[in-house]
């Protein structure tokens, strides 16, 4: 039992600008379920991709059952008996279950045709081992998420996997399906298969894992048997850094309620979320990937359909059906995906700034754009927000991430938005620009605007917010006042 199945020694992996893994050491015993936990971006998936040959480590060694191995690609990993089951399944949807099983190495009959009969027998026999019923001829597209997961697991078994890595396997499963998955994991364990289990959900880890490793900021912080640990301890290790005090102080008066959401629902994404936003306030939203924060914000901005509940602006009930109406109600949204939905990279700095409210620039009734006014507006915002660009006619493509983000902010300022939704505004931009954005946020609230601030980085969320709402899988799990902020407190709510 205590035999070491896998050891990774001093694994380092850097991506341009980021050290994703720093001297990570990691040991897994044979036949155990080993959970890896950590915040978003802690390096869990990167570590697993190194193990699976998707990425090559810059330095470090990997040992399987005591022997050093080099894993150059996924095929090599498979040969060595390592199978990775991704968050999103890796099956080809248009092919049958059996075809997916034998992808790339279809068995042939004597005359060189595909041996369908053999394929079906093999698949049926593996599923009967697992006590699970799926027709080998079924096309993958018709299967449920749980069935697909099971096909992946069965396929891993058919390839004699000794180590199966599951990257958040339960994220799209129902409770019953999760139970089913866990009983299969237990069966596999008994047969001596080693399972590495990545999850955000504490509950599951305590149910299924034997050992837990905690990763943070690309480093392996701690590995310990699960017995004797508490959820609080794990969370503390996960966040474990002191909260930065480097967030600029601000003076703002928090005033009356400007936006109130009552039992807001969006089909299959958001369930009965209540919150209120005050004038001059930064309201933080915490949660892990898939918590539904962006989806909630989109719903308020008219980009997602409200399937239940009510939204009030300044005490009046409103119905916002699209983004055009949201802007008319003075709402603006800085989106998470800057390059995809934040701005048009081919368009000029100028046209990106004015696009959300062209009517403001017009003579008469939207008949003529006043080009002089357009230029003045663009110049003014470039100066005010210190956007570094050689000219307002430059295409946004040539600017740095931070400057692009400032263009997006300028767009919403020009649109006269009073309620600003900032979804991960500092993602992918450098430290200096981050600070500028914090300062701009402070400036905005001190002028009486209100900000909904979504961020996956707890330090900035705690540093900038007046209140924080924590979400988990579309539900609001709690609301914390500034004096109640703690990484542990937030993480505990986010994983529950």
């Amino acid at each position: 039992m205590s035999e070491i199945a896998l050891e990774m020694r001093n694994i380092t992996k850097t991506f341009p600008g980021v050290k994703a893994l720093n001297q990570v050491c990691f040991q897994v015993k044979k036949g155990e379920v080993h959970a890896i936990v950590g915040e978003n971006g802690a390096g869990k998936s990167t570590l697993m991709k190194v193990l699976n040959g998707v990425y090559q480590a810059d330095s470090g060694q990997i040992f399987l059952e005591g022997k050093e191995v080099k894993i150059e690609n996924i095929n090599k990993a498979q040969e060595l008996g390592i199978s990775l089951i991704f968050q999103e399944t890796n099956l080809i949807p248009q092919l049958s279950v059996a075809e997916n099983f034998f992808l790339g190495k279809l068995p042939k009959t004597k005359v060189g045709l595909v041996n369908w009969k053999y394929m079906e027998e093999q698949v049926t026999s593996i599923f009967s081992q697992l006590n699970y019923k799926i027709k080998p001829k079924e096309v993958v597209v018709n299967l449920s998420a749980a069935d697909k997961q099971m096909v992946e697991i069965a396929r891993a078994i058919s390839r004699n996997a000794k180590i199966i890595i599951m990257d958040e396997p339960t994220s799209s499963l129902t409770d019953v399906e999760v139970e089913n998955l866990f009983s299969i994991i237990n069966d596999l364990k008994k047969k001596g298969t080693t399972i590495i289990f990545i999850s955000h959900k504490m509950e599951e880890i305590f149910t299924i894992a034997d050992t837990v490793s905690i990763q943070r900021d690309g480093e392996m912080i701690h590995t310990a048997p699960i017995t004797g640990l508490t959820s609080d301890q794990i969370v503390e290790w996960m966040v474990g850094r002191s909260v930065d005090t480097e967030f600029p102080a601000r003076e703002s008066k928090i005033g009356e309620v400007v936006l109130e959401a009552k039992k807001v629902c969006r089909k299959n994404l958001i369930y009965d979320v209540d919150f209120s936003l005050h004038k001059g306030e930064v309201l933080g939203f915490a949660g892990l990937v898939g918590a539904g924060r962006t989806e909630l914000a989109e719903t308020i901005f008219g980009e997602g359909k409200l399937s239940g509940g009510e939204i009030y602006l300044h005490g009046k009930k409103v119905s916002i059906k699209n983004t055009t109406q949201a802007i008319r109600h003075s709402i603006g949204m800085l989106t998470e995906e800057r390059k995809e939905t934040g701005l048009a990279l081919d368009a000029s700095v100028k046209s990106n700034i004015v696009i959300a409210k062209l009517s403001k620039l017009c003579f008469g009734k939207n008949l003529f754009i006043n080009r002089k006014a357009e230029k003045e507006v663009a110049d003014q915002y470039v100066k005010e927000l210190k956007i570094k660009t050689p000219s307002i006619n430059q295409t946004a493509y040539n600017l740095s991430g931070g400057n692009q983000q400032k263009i997006v902010i300028a767009k919403w300022l020009f649109s006269d938005a009073d309620i600003l939704i900032f979804d991960e505004p500092t993602r992918g931009i450098d430290v200096g620009a981050k600070h500028e954005i914090y300062n701009i946020m402070n400036d905005l609230v001190s002028k009486g605007k209100s900000i909904i601030f979504i961020s996956s980085e707890l330090p900035e969320l705690m540093g900038m917010s007046d209140r924080i709402i924590v979400m988990h899988e579309g539900h609001k799990k709690g609301e914390l006042l500034r004096e109640e902020f703690s990484s542990e407190g937030i993480m505990k709510l986010a994983v529950s």
Binding site: F301, E303, N322, T323, T324, A326, I327, M333, T335, E340, T341, G342, L343, A344, L345, D346, A347, S351, I355, A356, K357, L358, S359, L361, C362, N366, L367, F368, I369, P390, S391, Q394, T395, N398, K411, S415
Partner: protein, 326 residues
């Protein structure tokens, strides 16, 4: 530095004004080798000839700037033509016929737009407009055949309708179309939104632009102007048949692209398209005056279209490089 700078400038000028330079070269060569080219009569003749295709091309500019495609305009020309002429010929109802023809065109465009707006409104699947409007082209072509029973409708009598094809009138309509669309695309918030949609549809939607509505409007414009072209064409030729528009859609779209409007969207415009239309028109006329046979003529036209697109691609690349240095 100055030496190099000058060289750079020359290349830039060549690339930026390549099409105009090419046009001048064609004009010079043809005027030297034939007598009838640079005459007022011939020039007016050229403009009269390009007017219907030109009007179609201008109508489809907004669609292409938004990153979409409209192949149905040829059938719209046919359909509006036969609708109009049938009223003129059999009922002597010119006004009614013309109005109905324009409404038919706008209606076909609106139908295109409604379908395309609804399928592309989420997570843009822009390529679909190519095939949807191709389907519409086939369906409307068949509808025109059913409507006319395949009969060729000749117009003898003088009528209000015949006015639209006379003398300078097609040219005036072409110029008016240019002015209207140049205004719409360059001066109005609507036009600016269309360019933005062409650059990044998702970002346009998240900036509060009503992408669905704008998509419907641009296809309606495209259909409407195809119908205008249909009325002008039938009037100029003095007849309508159920195949009169066939193939014109690609001539129009080629003119748009030759002028420098990118099929990927976000770039180009009305004045560039006018230039593209004129280049194509002058080229056909020149080839005919030079007595070049039909088949080589077609080949030369094809090569010119390809060269024009290449020129535009290089010019854009060159500008992007220069921009990065600036």
């Amino acid at each position: 530095m100055t030496e190099k700078g000058k060289k750079l400038d020359i290349v830039q000028v060549l690339l930026n004004y390549g099409l105009i330079i090419a046009l001048c070269i064609i004009i010079v060569i043809v005027s030297i080798s034939t007598e009838n080219f640079l005459t007022v009569r011939n020039i007016i003749n050229i403009l009269r000839q390009v007017a219907p295709t030109g009007i179609m091309a201008l109508g489809v500019v907004a669609v292409i700037v938004a990153g979409h495609m409209d192949l149905s305009i040829s059938s719209t020309v046919t359909m509006s033509g036969v609708v109009c002429v049938s009223y003129v010929k059999y009922l002597q109802a010119d006004v009614k016929g013309i109005c109905l023809a324009l409404l038919t065109g706008a209606g076909i465009g609106l139908l295109n737009g409604a379908i395309i707006a609804n399928i592309t409104s989420k997570k843009g699947r822009k390529g679909e407009s190519f095939i949807i409007t191709y389907g519409m082209q086939a369906a409307i072509a068949a509808a025109a055949l059913l409507y006319t029973n395949g009969i060729y409708m000749n117009l003898q009598e003088k009528s209000l309708h015949s006015f639209f094809g006379k003398g300078y009138v097609p040219i005036i309509i072409f110029v008016l179309t240019t002015v209207i669309l140049e205004y719409v695309m360059k001066c109005t918030p609507f036009g600016q939104s269309i360019y933005y949609i062409g650059s990044n549809e998702a970002a346009a939607r998240m900036s509060g632009i009503n992408v669905k509505r704008n998509t419907m409007i641009i296809f309606t414009i495209s259909g409407f102007f195809a119908a205008v072209a249909g009325v002008v064409l039938t009037s100029r030729v003095g007849a309508a048949s159920s195949t009169s528009g066939n193939g014109l859609e690609l001539d129009a779209i080629a003119a748009v692209v030759v002028g420098g409007t990118a099929l990927s969207g976000g770039k180009g415009g009305v004045m560039k398209t006018v230039l593209g239309v004129i280049v194509m028109g002058v080229l056909s006329n020149a080839l005919r005056l030079l007595n070049i046979d039909t088949y080589p003529q077609m080949m030369i036209r094809g090569v010119i279209i390809i060269l024009a697109v290449l020129l535009d691609v290089f010019a854009t690349q060159f500008k992007a490089k220069g921009g990065a240095k600036a």
